[in-house]
């Protein structure tokens, strides 16, 4: 387990910033608690090419565990590929969702197809953020504001209006169904 290098930090942030807005700063800055005292600081740590978002105190404690023995800590955000790119995991949804910039809400009849790994079609969209460009990261919500996953828009909001009901609006990149489908590989290599 070690800190991230400059390059890695940049790659990680540019990936997360696809889905989030300006409020991403709150991930790094120590959050103030109710009494106004600065709360605990969260840090990013890399272990076996996986990046974890973890409380600094826990990260410091984890240094006492040998690298081969340390399986996981904190929240896994994703992993670095061998080519140096970053692949975001569904486990990062809890971190991304509160800071999402563009959102797509899907109707109850579209939830199951999405959770089984399908893309979002226009007929299943309940509502979407206005002025969303194409190929932009979006967070997918159910109609009762439960984050279900994330993806990339296939076309801009204006273009999607002219689309037929079976046309794909958002390409799926991750959904909470992966917790079951990818159970074997999600937490261990």
């Amino acid at each position: 387990m070690r800190q991230l290098t400059q390059e890695e930090t940049k790659t990680l942030f540019s990936k997360i910033a696809n889905y989030t807005g300006r409020s991403l700063n709150q991930l790094i800055e120590p959050v103030q608690d109710a009494s106004g005292k600065p709360g605990e600081r969260y840090v990013f740590r890399i272990q076996n090419s996986r990046v974890y978002y973890v409380k600094e105190a826990i990260a410091n404690l984890a240094t006492s565990i040998a690298r081969p023995n340390l399986l996981s800590l904190g929240t896994c955000i994703g992993k670095f590929t061998k080519t140096g790119m970053f692949r975001i995991h569904i486990t990062a949804l809890d971190i991304i969702a509160p800071h999402a910039r563009y959102k797509v809400w899907i109707r109850p009849n579209g939830e199951m197809p999405f959770l089984y790994g399908g893309h979002v079609v226009k007929a299943h969209v309940g509502r979407w953020s206005e002025d969303c460009p194409e190929h932009q990261g979006v967070v997918v919500y159910s109609m009762n504001d439960t984050p279900l996953g994330f993806g990339v828009t296939a076309c801009s909001t204006a273009a999607a209006r002219k689309l037929d009901p079976t046309g794909i609006v958002t390409f799926r990149q991750g959904d909470v169904g992966e917790y079951l489908r990818e159970e074997d590989t999600l937490f261990a290599t």
């Binding site: 942030f13 700063n25 790094i28 190929h135 932009q136």
Partner: protein, 179 residues
């Protein structure tokens, strides 16, 4: 140089002390000259030695000839070996700010591009509509002209019999007379 100075000082003091004895003065002068020569020789040797000093390419920082070093192997001078970690909030915020500005620009660019494309599409649509309208107008005009022609023809046909009323009256009014 320091040695020659000291010797000259010593000789000066000696000459001042024994002015009445020229012989002894000669004696004292001879070694002084020798020593001067010696020191000169040494300094010359030193100079020669200094001139002979050869600088290595590393000392001068001259790039090596035929030295194409792969970038992975190349080691920069005075740079820390290994990875540079980022853990303090300030530098992380700086990186994040940079990344966010980049993304913001990208998104703005995309939105602007989409708007421009939409405008172009709208303009094209309006133009196409206009073209269709003008075509329709031309067609309508042609139709109108044809209709007008037909009407005038009919009117003419209608008007002809009215010109020579006798014939018309004879044709139209049939009279039946009963004996």
């Amino acid at each position: 140089m320091a040695t020659s100075k000291s010797t000259s000082k010593a000789s000066a003091s000696k000459t001042a002390a024994g002015l009445g004895k020229p012989k002894s003065d000669k004696k004292t002068r001879a070694p002084k000259a020798k020593s001067e020569v010696k020191t000169h020789r040494i300094s010359a040797k030193d100079k020669l030695k200094k001139k002979k000093r050869i600088y290595t390419a590393e000392e001068l920082g001259v790039p090596k000839l035929n030295g194409i070093v792969p970038t992975g192997v190349q080691k920069l001078k005075g740079k820390k070996k290994g990875k540079v970690f980022v853990d303090d909030a300030e530098s992380m915020l700086a990186i994040l700010g940079m990344v966010q500005a980049e993304k913001e620009g990208e998104v703005e660019g995309k939105i602007m591009k989409a708007r421009q494309l939409e405008e172009i599409r709208e303009a094209k649509r309006v133009e196409a509509e206009k073209r269709v309208q003008s075509k329709k107008a031309v067609l309508e005009e042609a139709k109108g002209v044809l209709r007008q022609k037909k009407r005038t023809k009919r009117d003419k046909r209608d008007e002809k019999p009215t010109d020579d009323g006798k014939k018309e009256s004879s044709h139209k009014k049939k009279r039946v007379s009963f004996g």
